[in-house]
């Protein structure tokens, strides 16, 4: 399952010129500011917009090739589209909305699969209702279900959370995580919200002013000081994949990651659970020698990869810990005093670790 996209298109105030591919299942986020061209890209993939020039391939099928004059109609591309404003049909019940694409699909999902999607998104109680009688979060779930039931090869999510308030976002987020973890379908997720992206996405494609400026896993990019500076991220930090290994008698939960162990205040999830932990650059201190008699629970061995000055007083230090990246933001004074330089082995003292709310946490 793969998607490759090459597009050139002109608008009144900017031009789009992108070339990227998505090979992995899971969620790939198209991340960038509003007006960067992200929505245009997914619209072109869906066939709602015909670019001046382009070539798009969805799992082996060429759905657009301007050079060969190939343009497959949107309904035949098998790309499920979830719009920001849900776009449910107001004159149909939730059930008929859900089955709209299913009825028109060449390869129909079985009754079992329909039931599965309805249960996955908790839609059973809503089936007889009209969209006007749904909350914003419920509408979003129905829109997701409707796109899933037309048996898509690819799911395009065009800022599905942007129009929702924080409470509604929190309501839908677990369902998106469920889709990511339980369905094998690749998803292209358009967003300008970093918190959504770092929580949901496996891969990032960064779009800026109509160009792809960076691409990589969420862990690699978020832990990359050059990327963070280029993207103008404030208060950023590394994101690490970790796994719960044990709940200790002293009340701490032990997490394992490639660079060792992290200890957190007790987490409410079973050993073996995969998590994403976030370590803000400001929360990492550096020491040249192993600190003894220190209250911090997390001291990691790391290696300095690069140092970059970010303003008059601060520098970011790029670290590698195991196979994962970490970032520390320290003062330039400390940098000079410790004589820090690339390739140096160092101890990173992590003052605080946050864990994203996890799939399953809010769901029964």
């Amino acid at each position: 399952m793969s998607v490759s996209v090459f597009l050139r298109h002109d608008f009144a105030d900017f031009s789009l010129d992108v070339n990227f591919g998505v090979d992995a299942p899971g969620i790939t986020a198209l991340f960038g500011k509003s007006g960067a061209g992200k929505s245009t890209i997914v619209q072109a993939i869906a066939g709602l917009l015909r670019p001046r020039e382009g070539r798009i391939e969805i799992s082996g099928q060429i759905v657009l090739d301007s050079a060969a004059n190939v343009f497959v109609a949107p309904g035949l591309r098998r790309a499920g589209y979830v719009f920001q404003d849900a776009r449910l049909f107001p004159h149909m019940s939730v059930e008929n909305n859900l089955l709209f694409g299913w009825r028109r699909a060449a390869q129909k999902a079985s009754q079992n699969e329909i039931d599965h999607v309805i249960d996955l998104l908790d839609l059973r109680a809503l089936l007889a209702r009209r969209p006007a009688k749904l909350s914003g979060g419920e509408r979003g779930r129905v829109a997701l279900g409707r796109a899933l039931l037309c048996s898509p090869r690819l799911l395009l999510l065009d800022e599905p959370l942007a129009a929702l308030d924080a409470a509604r976002k929190a309501e839908i987020m677990p369902y998106l995580e469920r889709l990511r973890d339980e369905e094998k379908i690749p998803m292209l997720y358009v967003s300008h919200a970093l918190d959504e992206v770092t929580r949901l996405a496996d891969n990032l494609v960064i779009v800026d002013k109509g160009r792809v400026t960076a691409q990589g896993t969420v862990f690699d990019l978020m832990g990359d000081i050059a990327f963070a500076r280029g993207a103008g991220l404030q208060a950023y930090g590394a994101i690490l994949p970790a796994r719960v290994s044990a709940h200790q008698d002293d009340g701490l939960t032990r997490l394992e990651f490639s660079g060792g162990a992290l200890f957190l205040a007790r987490l409410d999830c079973a050993p073996g659970t995969a998590l994403r932990v976030r370590i803000r650059a400001e929360d990492v201190m550096l020491a040249r020698e192993e600190p003894m008699a220190i209250s911090a629970n997390n001291v990691l061995r790391a290696n300095i990869q690069a140092v970059e000055q970010i303003d008059a007083t601060h520098s970011d230090v790029q670290l590698v810990c195991g196979t994962d990246r970490l970032v520390a933001r320290i003062t330039r004074a400390s940098l000079t005093r410790l004589e820090l330089a690339p390739q140096m082995d160092i101890f990173a003292i992590v003052k605080s670790v946050t864990v994203d709310p996890q799939t399953g946490a809010g769901l029964s």
């Binding site: 869906a46 066939g47 709602l48 109609a73 949107p74 309904g75 035949l76 790309a79 499920g80 589209y81 719009f83 404003d85 776009r87 049909f89 107001p90 004159h91 149909m92 709209f100 694409g101 028109r104 699909a105 009209r130 969209p131 006007a132 409707r146 796109a147 037309c150």
Partner: protein
């Protein structure tokens, strides 16, 4: 004086209803297609067509009747051809009254439907497109159901206006009792008859009652339809 309708009064009432019903019923599909063409498509000469559609609204109805006579009169080109080949004659016939009323009220229908179409969220059609619905499919299952309030409103307005049409009908098909003498024509001819004032008053009262019933039914229908399409 009796409140029951006399046979000529009943005849005028039923004829008015029949003429309006046929006028609106025949014009409606055409009005829907015209509204879709204007609201959703660009074609050369669109503004010209648009202006032409509004002609019946701005022309004196008598002129419309006269033009119809010039086209569909028994010795006029189209009228003679229709009569010779199909035995169809509009002049002096109630179908001619329906034709006149249909043409006069056509702009009301197109306008109401067009406004609904233009106000419609094209995003819904786009969503249907991504879900595999083709052009005709979208028209039948998305666009028309959502335009239903406008279609109903247009049809009701046109029906009411048809009931009151006078100038075009009397010019085109004259005022023949039981054939083309609808309520307004009957009122007029009662007034022309010495001692017909009472009859004119009775018929006018009937027209007022009809209008009131029509307006309330329209209100009811529109509310039902809006609930039906979830708006």
């Amino acid at each position: 004086m009796s409140f029951a309708l006399s046979p000529p009064e009943l005849e005028a009432l039923l004829l008015s209803l029949r003429v309006s019903l046929v006028a609106v019923g025949c014009a409606l599909p055409l009005a829907v297609l015209t509204a879709i063409a204007i609201a959703h498509h660009d074609f050369p000469g669109k503004s010209l067509v648009d202006g032409f559609l509004h002609l019946p609204l701005v022309l004196p109805p008598v002129v419309v009747g006269y033009i119809l006579l010039m086209i569909f009169g028994t010795r006029a080109p189209v009228g003679a051809w229709l009569l010779d080949n199909f035995g169809v004659q509009f002049v002096f016939n109630w179908t001619g009254a329906a034709l006149a009323a249909g043409i006069i009220t056509f702009p009301f229908q197109v306008r109401a439907i067009r406004l609904t179409l233009e106000a419609m969220d094209t995003g819904l059609s786009e969503a249907a497109q991504t879900l595999g619905a083709g052009r005709i499919d979208r028209l039948i299952n998305i666009v028309l159901p959502l335009a239903l309030p406008g279609i109903v409103a247009g049809a009701i307005t046109a029906f009411a206006a048809s009931l009151g049409e006078f100038g075009a009908i009397i010019t085109f098909v004259s005022s023949i009792p039981g054939e083309t003498r609808t309520l307004p024509l009957a009122i007029y001819s009662a007034l022309q008859t010495p001692g017909g004032e009472v009859e004119a008053a009775r018929l006018s009262a009937l027209a007022v009652a009809l209008a009131l019933i029509g307006v309330s039914l329209a209100e009811l229908a529109e509310r039902r339809v809006r609930a039906l399409v979830g708006r």
